[in-house]
């Protein structure tokens, strides 16, 4: 007879010395664990609650400007710094870690309308309503040695005066051209005091401009005549234009999918377009209750942040119709510019109340060095919460956000109005000959036409 019985020797299954780690044995057999789904559900519920407990997104405010902040710029080579320009001509360089001004760049006589940094981080370009473009030298050496107790001020490297006031500026990626937007679109070189090229299509002022991160010769602009125009520098002519029903305040290209861009519009929505196919929006992002003033993509290309006239900052998924997060404070007034930090962890908003505010991109994220076990645990909790986030108890907790009363009421009002419009449309359709009334899809509805 052959017989064998389970016999475990203590030595094999326990540690040898007290300095060793305890031995852990795994058996992933599902029959050893009962009611796995219910356990996962309880963990998802607890994870949602913990998330809300640890959700403290506001890190700090950077105080110093004396007028509302209209524009910001990121230095792609230096993570901790951000430039901001305000309505009284004051440009400051901030250190986000200590939330203090490192350097000031005085010089503009009127409002600073646009700021941008070249891709190698050496030149800061600023433009303003005093018809000047100023170039400042901001290489690393300059920034790093500053002592932020004394208000350092720098002298501009160059000042170029031109015919009209400027509204926005953007620098080419990996090149040395930058473009300004104003009465027309001008393309400048660092060393020339006059624009290299000028584009003018349409009769109205251009209010925002952005270069494509993937194709350095393509840029998108938006104008007061409710259009979004794409220009190609190689062809030295405008490429395409789409006219919408309302004006676009700002455009941002998706850094990971450079053929797509998202436009922040006056009608409280953001529209994502594929630059090759402008007749239909790829996605409509709805959640703001007032005009969206600025938009910036995260370097991962998966999320973008918007700042709006309704005093809130929202973070959207790149393909999501509704926001995943909303940030607001009693002290934050109209938000005019937002930036997503280059490490995708922070969001900076500049608003009417002369403060720049630093927020966490993920509200309940643990900052600082996270141990590998902690990180694994966070990832597990996130995954299990996403698996069960459609169940009512979990959904109620995950979705819950406190909205300021004016925003809440305005959102309700908008919803009622949209519902009413929709109901009327449905009834009109139901009571007319089938096929005589065609509803346009939402993605097309706000576009008037596309022009070559």
């Amino acid at each position: 007879m052959k017989v064998k019985v389970i016999s475990r020797s203590t030595g094999e299954f326990t540690r040898e010395r007290s300095q060793d780690l305890q031995r852990v044995f795994r058996n992933f057999d599902p029959t050893l664990r009962s009611q796995e789904k219910a356990v996962e559900y309880v963990r998802a519920l607890n994870a949602a609650k913990l998330d809300k407990i640890f959700a403290r997104p506001f890190i700090g405010a950077m105080d110093g400007h004396r007028d509302s902040i209209k524009c910001m710029a990121k230095n792609p080579n230096y993570l901790k710094a951000i430039f901001s320009g305000s309505d009284d001509g004051d440009i400051r360089l901030w250190d986000m870690a200590s939330r203090r001004t490192v350097c000031q760049f005085p010089g503009h006589q009127g409002a600073v309308q646009g700021l941008t940094v070249s891709t190698d981080g050496s030149i800061l370009v600023s433009c303003g309503s005093d018809c000047t473009v100023r170039l400042w030298n901001v290489s690393d050496a300059n920034v790093a040695d500053s002592d932020y107790l004394s208000d350092n001020s720098a002298k501009p490297q160059a000042v170029y005066v031109w015919k009209n006031a400027f509204r926005a500026v953007d620098h080419q990626w990996d090149g040395d051209l930058f473009a300004t937007a104003g009465a027309q679109v001008d393309v400048w070189n660092h060393n020339r005091s006059q624009p290299v090229n000028t584009f003018d299509w349409g009769s109205d002022t251009t209010i925002s401009i952005r270069f494509n991160p993937g194709e350095p010769n393509i840029l998108a602009t938006s104008a007061n005549d409710r259009s979004i125009t794409l220009y190609d520098l190689r062809m030295s002519s405008p490429a395409r234009k789409v006219i919408m029903r309302t004006k676009t305040n700002s455009i941002a290209w998706n850094p990971m999918e450079p053929m797509n861009f998202t436009a922040a519009n006056e009608d409280c929505n953001c529209y994502s377009y594929d630059a090759r196919k402008l007749e239909e929006a790829k996605c409509v992002h709805k959640d703001h209750v007032s005009a969206v003033m600025d938009i910036d993509f995260s370097p991962t290309g998966r999320e973008f942040v918007t700042g709006s006239y309704d005093r809130t900052v929202r973070i959207f998924q790149y393909n999501g119709g509704h926001s995943r997060e909303i940030y607001h404070t009693k002290r934050m007034q109209r938000v005019f510019c937002v930036k997503y930090s280059c490490d995708a962890s922070y969001v900076i908003s500049g608003s009417d109340d002369t403060n720049l505010r630093l927020w966490k991109a993920k509200a309940s994220e643990q900052l600082g060095v996270v141990l590998p076990r902690e990180r694994k645990k966070h990832e597990y909790l996130e995954a299990v919460k996403n698996r069960y986030k459609h169940l009512p108890e979990v959904k109620r907790i995950v979705r819950h956000r406190h909205l300021p009363k004016p925003v809440y009421k305005a959102a309700n009002l908008r919803r009622t109005m949209i519902e009413a419009e929709r109901r009327k449309e449905q009834r009109r359709k139901a009571h007319s000959a089938p096929g005589s009334i065609m509803t346009e899809p939402v993605r097309k509805r706000r576009i008037i036409k596309e022009v070559e």
Partner: protein, 522 residues
């Protein structure tokens, strides 16, 4: 070589199937492209993780299971425990013993979930906790009262004893922690691990669930089927099954006062009940000396065995132990198709009456509680050879035990998650078919409406307008208003049924009265 490869492929497929936990979702019918893409990625991930789990099994699982093979004309059920003891190593042969305690009554046993500690209770009041690794008696106390059952709570620190009048909860040191007065004179205790619920059935057939973390009484149900002491928990889904003297097996959950399932299993009283760890197979035995093996998904008998059984227990690997008198039979299904046949037998000395058989988790050992004490015998192939430290660790240190307690408290399941099919959590409930509500449902709705009407608060009127008679009439008015739609519906139904009645007079009226039937206008 080809045949061996095929074999191993089949084995891998089996293993992968085990880790997949069910069928893949059918994505054909989905029209939403985004959702379809997301789900396809997920399904792919599940497939990959199941394959990886199957592949690493051979490195991750250190031990192999036990087995007993007979050679030549030998049969496994003739092999005695002494011959097994001669073949195995000393450590394992220590697990075979008889502890004789004749004065203190029939003994019941309970093991902790990691198989390390055992609580033994003699009918005459003897409670003992033994560490099975070292066979060390940790504590024994004499409570000087009848003790009918003992059950461990979530770890070895706490156990509950069903004493003469009430159940008590004791510490490992023998200190009495709680006296659970509400339960009454309990006959059987069972602990639901994931929910931290102590279930008890008492002399009057009342089933009670108590949450041992907060002490809250979750459910208190009158079964209505009399006194019974056959109770088992299904480890797969947490339902409690009771076997009654009428031969019915009822299954209960803590949130409903009526049983989930009532099945008539045996022509006579049920003598015992056991659940297979996979939750789909149940064994019941009745006084007519038959053991029935049930498939719980279809509620059908798979097999009937002619065997006496006063007590039944399934092991982790699916072996069934049946004990009666002083004889114990172990049944096993070798083919995997739920066809049980005799595997081993064991007969004890003549006077020993078997009270309870319990397999020890993660060991090839069967514990027997009988009228003269308790014994332990070796059953090769009954225990799971590879344990998971995060589920149950027989080599647990006190620090690990404390951490595990905290984690399991955080993961404590609410009592609402107990259901017949535990995989339904998180799934979408199919929309109810628009059937006409049955009479019972309509009555239930009416009762509910009347209850809400009774609950309404009235405005407090002043200046002499708040007379009690007026309040009473107002209340009656509200109740009538709540009842009105149901009564109208009822009268309408009566009208229609009466009209229908009238319309078929030919079938009902006797032939002589046919001439008075109203003819339909042709």
């Amino acid at each position: 070589m080809g045949a061996i490869k095929e074999n191993s492929d089949d084995e891998m497929d089996e293993k992968v199937k085990k880790y997949l936990r069910g069928e893949a979702a059918n994505l054909e019918g989905l029209k939403d492209k985004k959702l379809k893409g997301q789900l396809a990625v997920r399904e792919d991930l599940y497939g990959k993780s199941a394959k990886t789990a199957a592949k690493i099994e051979k490195w991750l699982l250190p031990s192999e299971g036990g087995y007993l093979e007979a050679e030549g004309i030998e049969k496994t059920w003739r092999i005695k425990q002494e011959s097994i003891a001669r073949e195995v190593d000393i450590l394992s042969s220590r697990n075979q013993y008889d502890i004789v305690l004749p004065e203190l009554g029939p003994y019941t046993l309970d093991f902790t979930s990691n198989g390390r500690y055992m609580a033994a209770a003699g009918r005459k009041g003897h409670l003992a906790i033994v560490d099975m690794k070292t066979l060390n008696l940790i504590k024994e106390i004499q409570v000087r009262e009848t003790v009918r059952d003992v059950a461990y709570l979530h770890n070895e620190l706490f156990f509950a004893a069903a004493q003469k009048k009430y159940p008590y909860i004791y510490n490992r040191d023998g200190t009495e922690l709680h006296c659970l007065k509400e339960h009454g004179a309990v006959l059987r205790l069972q602990f639901l691990k994931n929910h931290f619920l102590l279930a008890s059935i008492n002399k009057f057939g009342q089933l009670r669930y108590q949450d041992v973390t907060m002490g809250e009484m979750i459910g208190n149900f009158r079964t209505g089927l009399g006194r019974t002491d056959v109770m088992q928990v299904n480890p797969y889904n947490g339902v409690v099954a009771l076997g009654h003297s009428s031969g019915t097996v009822t299954m209960w959950k803590p949130t409903s006062a009526v049983p989930l399932v009532k099945m008539l299993s045996h022509p006579g009283p049920i003598s015992s009940l056991a659940f297979h760890p996979n939750g789909h197979v149940m064994a019941t035995s009745g006084r007519e000396n038959k053991i029935k093996i049930w498939d719980l998904r279809k509620f059908e008998v798979i097999q009937t065995l002619p065997c006496h059984a006063k007590t039944l227990n399934f092991s982790q690997k699916g072996l069934l132990a049946a004990g009666t008198g002083s004889f114990i039979q172990i049944l096993a299904d070798f083919s995997g198709s739920q066809n049980y046949s005799s595997y081993m037998t064991h007969s004890m000395a003549k006077g020993y009456q078997v009270g309870k058989v319990v397999f020890r988790p993660y060991e090839d050992v069967l514990g027997i509680g009988h009228s003269m004490g308790w014994s332990s015998i070796l059953i090769p192939g009954s225990g799971e050879p590879n344990f998971d430290s995060w589920v149950a660790n027989p080599f647990e240190t006190s620090k690990q035990r404390r951490e595990k307690e905290v984690h399991s408290l955080l993961d404590k399941l609410p009592p609402e998650t107990i259901m017949l099919d535990p995989t339904k959590v998180g799934t979408v409930r199919a929309p109810p078919k628009k059937e006409k509500p049955t009479k019972k449902e309509i009555e239930a709705e009416m009762e509910a409406a009347i209850e809400t009407a009774k609950d309404t608060d009235f405005k407090k009127k002043t200046k002499g307008r708040n007379k009690p008679s007026k309040r009473a009439t107002k209340r009656r008015e509200m109740i009538n208003r709540a009842k009105r739609p149901f009564l109208e519906q009822r009268t309408q139904e009566h009208e229609t049924s009466r009209k229908k009645h009238k319309l078929n007079p030919e079938t009902e009226m006797p032939k002589s009265l046919q001439r008075f039937v109203r003819q339909k206008a042709t």
